[in-house]
């Protein structure tokens, strides 16, 4: 079954200030959907709200994953469904090694933890330490395979999570996490920002491989640049807390030529067009 993430007339606020003002958007597995918009338009907020950040309050509308609302789910429950948010600014967690963290995350998402708990409840016996985790040997094998496949240095495994990472290393780390967690739908928040051309290639290559494996991607970006490397199936234009236009790759090209000022100038016209498109 192809997973679908549908955002319906979504309104969200932070501290009484409305940021999302009626977002409509659908992302499907296997598709790359680019979401382009100027800085401050609320693109990142959309990513956070989909992932379940507690700081934002959804005031109306809905987010459906395969037809079921996920609004009441905790961030970890959303991750277990197969939703992944690649952060624009991944948080550094000192003292927690990349490998330990990822093993715990993979074990949770793949159900090792739930199975261990069920087993314990069924047998009434206390679980052994580590039984709720993916076996170390298997985990390491897969981690190293994926590090090689996604061009991530094996030394990452022992380093502390994002601690002292360069901008490029953080983004590579996000791609590696994504590759290990195998989400159905990933939201990639400005995964291209702050990257030099080599890092951009590595990150784009990683996204392409995962999409080829069946992942759906919402690519949030300010610039056209990453779209030279990751070809979108759809492009939506985000402006002032809403999607104002959805089309094919040509929309990105047009934006590149005319800039976001054009969106502002033709907002009324675009609304009209959108109504026509939506029929």
């Amino acid at each position: 079954m192809t997973a679908t993430l549908e955002i319906k007339d979504l309104h969200a606020s932070v501290e009484e200030k409305e940021i999302l003002k009626g977002v409509n958007l659908t992302i499907r597995q296997g598709e790359v959907h680019a979401l382009m918009g100027p800085n401050g338009s609320g693109k990142s907020t959309l990513g956070y709200v989909i992932a379940g950040h507690p700081h934002y309050e959804v005031t109306s509308g809905d987010i459906l994953f395969n037809g079921e609302s996920i609004l009441d789910l905790e961030p970890d429950e959303r991750a277990k469904l197969g939703i992944f948010l690649a952060f624009q600014y991944p948080v550094a967690v000192p003292g927690v090694s990349f490998a330990n963290f990822l093993r715990a995350a993979v074990s949770s998402v793949r159900g090792y933890k739930d199975r261990a708990r069920e087993e314990m409840e069924r047998t009434g016996q206390l679980k052994e330490v580590g039984s709720e985790l993916m076996p170390m040997r298997e985990f390491r094998k897969e981690l190293f395979e994926k590090m090689d496949r996604f061009n991530v240095d094996r030394a990452f495994a022992r380093r502390y999570l994002n601690d002292g990472f360069s901008g490029g290393e953080k983004k590579r780390g996000e791609v590696l996490q994504m590759a290990m967690l195998q989400p159905k739908i990933a939201i990639l928040d400005e995964s291209d920002s702050g990257l030099d051309i080599d890092a951009l290639r590595v990150v784009s290559d990683g996204i392409n491989k995962l999409v080829a494996d069946g992942m759906g991607a919402l690519l949030i970006t300010h610039y056209q640049r990453i779209l030279d490397y990751v070809k979108p199936d759809k492009v939506s234009v985000f402006y002032d807390g809403r999607v104002v236009l959805t089309g094919g790759p040509e929309v990105a090209t047009m934006l590149e030529e005319k800039g976001y000022g054009w969106v502002e100038d033709h907002l009324a016209e675009l609304e009209e067009k959108k109504k026509l498109v939506n029929g």
Partner: protein
């Protein structure tokens, strides 16, 4: 089954009885009596004293504790030891081990090769019998009898302790391990005396355990002679109904290195002084601390980095997590004496608050009388950052697991600097236990 302990009350008669029982030399008997006099002449501390402003002795009554009378059973081999003690010793690959039960040596072992090289690792009582002069010169020369009321009490009533002497040029690769076990309701006065001669190297681990409804009043003195390297890892695992008082001091001679870890897990209330004396140029001192009080535990640490001489470095890092209604106090001082130029001293205390009811007081301090020095200090106290939790949750970890992982990560900065793998594992296990992972 709880064994009923036969105990005698704390009094001047008890002080004399200890001297009589062990047939102690006259100088020691006189020192004990003088210490008792100082103890009696010193008022109990009150909150009016700066060092006691944040730690109250409410509910503490010396009459509640007795001194041990029975002689516990001794053991001739590791295999014969009670299982829990054997397990504890086996966690660390050591060059020697001592177990003291209520001041009696119940088990001892030492690597034969190190013994041949002149290493002495035994209980203080044996050291006193075998090398009275060495003990006389060093005992009480770093931590004075009148240092504080608890030190006075300690010098009046100490019964035994751990003694390590590493001769010139001898390096022990494996650590020396001491288990200090205390029975319920008793007062114990463990004395640690460590001497690292010129160019020697050693790691000593002391583990304090037991003392249900009891008290521990210990003193530790470490001598780091020229270019010697001494690492002292002190793990306080006392029962959470115990009162704990400890005065610890190390002196570092020219080009010496001293590193101490204080891991404070147990006790109902702890008041711990840890002082580093940089006596001669070129020395390096490092003080590491870990604490993780829960429920109503109250843990108070005082540190002093005392730079008396030029070109020494010292580095302090104390990290604590606090849960429930727990309370911690950290008071630190870097003191750079007149003329101690080119001192480089650092002091940092970080606290992680896991509950709205927990409280961490941190009072870092500097007193600098030299003008060409580099001294930095800092203190932080914060809750687990919500952004960290969200990031880990977005990867599929539930809130509890995410928080645990962040807390464990928080302590890694200290644990990383502990030189013994077995001790690192012990520390990690204790932290895992405290964050709720069995």
């Amino acid at each position: 089954m709880t064994k009923t302990m036969i105990a005698t009350p704390i009094s001047v008669a008890a002080v004399k009885a200890i001297s009589d029982r062990y047939d102690e030399p006259e100088w020691l008997r006189q020192r004990r009596l003088a210490a008792w006099e100082t103890f009696e002449a010193t008022p109990w501390p009150t909150y009016k004293e700066e060092t006691w402003r944040r730690t109250r002795l409410t509910g503490f009554n010396l009459a509640d504790f007795g001194l041990p009378v029975e002689t516990p059973e001794t053991f001739s081999s590791r295999d014969a030891l009670p299982e829990h003690l054997q397990t504890e010793l086996d966690k660390v690959d050591s060059a020697g081990a001592l177990i003291l039960q209520d001041g009696a040596l119940i088990y001892g072992e030492l690597d034969a090769d190190l013994a041949r090289k002149g290493v002495r690792f035994t209980d203080l009582r044996t050291a006193l019998a075998e090398d009275e002069e060495l003990v006389r010169v060093h005992l009480g020369a770093l931590v004075a009898t009148d240092e504080n009321k608890f030190a006075s009490l300690h010098y009046a009533l100490w019964r035994n302790g751990a003694f390590l002497y590493v001769p010139r040029g001898v390096a022990a690769e494996k650590p020396f391990q001491v288990l200090v076990v205390q029975g319920p309701g008793l007062a114990n006065f463990h004395h640690s005396l460590f001497i690292g001669e010129e160019n020697s190297e050693a790691v000593v681990i002391e583990d304090f355990m037991g003392s249900q409804q009891g008290m521990s009043d210990s003193v530790a003195e470490s001598y780091v002679k020229q270019a010697a390297r001494l690492h002292y890892l002190r793990l306080q695992n006392l029962d959470e109904t115990a009162w704990n008082f400890a005065t610890q001091r190390a002196s570092v001679a020219r080009d010496g290195l001293y590193r101490q870890l204080q891991a404070s897990w147990g006790s109902k209330l702890s008041k711990v002084w840890i002082d580093l004396e940089m006596e001669e140029p070129g020395g390096h001192g490092e003080l590491l601390g870990l604490y993780f009080p829960q429920d109503h535990q109250h843990l108070d640490h005082h540190t002093n980095q005392n730079h008396k001489t030029p070109r020494c470095t010292s580095d302090l890092l104390f990290k604590g997590a606090l849960d429930d209604h727990a309370r911690s106090v950290y008071q630190g001082m870097i003191r750079v004496h007149h003329g101690a130029q080119k001192t480089d001293a650092y002091q940092k205390n970080d606290n992680l608050l896991l509950s709205d009811h927990a409280r961490a007081d941190s009072v870092p301090g500097l007193e600098i009388e030299a003008d060409d020095v580099r001294c930095t200090h800092g203190a932080t106290s914060a809750k687990v950052p919500e952004e960290y939790v969200f990031y880990l949750m977005a990867r599929g970890l539930d809130r509890k697991t995410a928080q645990r992982m962040i807390v464990q990560g928080f302590f890694e900065e200290v644990i990383n600097r502990v030189p013994v793998p077995g001790v690192r594992a012990k520390l990690e296990a204790e932290i895992a236990h405290r964050v709720g992972i069995e």
